[in-house]
Symmetry: C2
Subunit: 124 residues, 2 copies
């Protein structure tokens, strides 16, 4: 699995919003949330390319970036990893921890029920 740092992920995440995109577009998108210098983001883009998380094509003197993987695939792998590390690979203890500390809303419960429902329909 490609290992991304937090900052790298945030840049990739800005690209996932809509791609392909230029560096300036990504910088623009990040400007609301982060106080990052333009140079910082360029560095991170370079590192992402080096790690194989992005590719680009030249257009004039700019690069047009495209992610090399989908967000859902990346977050799934990260999730598996996370759950393996902290909960020996079982997902229920994570949810249970949230429940115990009253971090679950009725909406969460409804959504979880739907996930379970869909899963069961799929079994038949």
């Amino acid at each position: 699995m490609i290992e991304l740092s937090k900052a790298e992920f945030d840049v990739l995440d800005a690209l996932w919003i809509n791609y392909p995109a230029t560096a300036s577009q990504i910088i623009e998108r990040l400007s609301d949330d982060k106080q990052w210098h333009e140079k910082t983001i360029k560095t991170l883009l370079g590192r992402l390319v080096k790690k194989g998380a992005l590719t680009f094509e030249k257009e004039g003197r700019q690069y047009i970036y495209t992610p090399c993987m989908e967000r859902a695939d990346y977050t799934l792998k990260e999730s598996q990893n996370f759950i393996e590390r902290f909960f020996s690979g079982r997902i229920a203890p994570l949810v249970s921890g949230f429940a115990k500390s009253e971090q679950l809303s009725q909406q969460d419960i409804n959504e979880l029920k739907k996930v379970i429902d869909d899963w069961e329909k799929n079994q038949k």
Copy 2:
């Protein structure tokens, strides 16, 4: 929140198995899973103390270590953090990702149902 590296967490995790415990006991516990040199683990213990994740008392020339927090509290915070970063704070999309990629077993589903059940009982 105290930020621990992976290796630091693994050492703390070995202490959580049973504590208080000496460095040698922790080293012994880790010897099955990790090929770490004793010195490496001592270094990590030192860093954990410095970060405030552990305390110790002297006994003869050894230290007896105790975690400064409970495992459940730590993993809950890590989970919140994780879910915030990758799923905007919603837990269902994580579970849903697992479901879609067929990572959920019947046992997971049963456990999740129980969590939901308990939560609902608790609401009344």
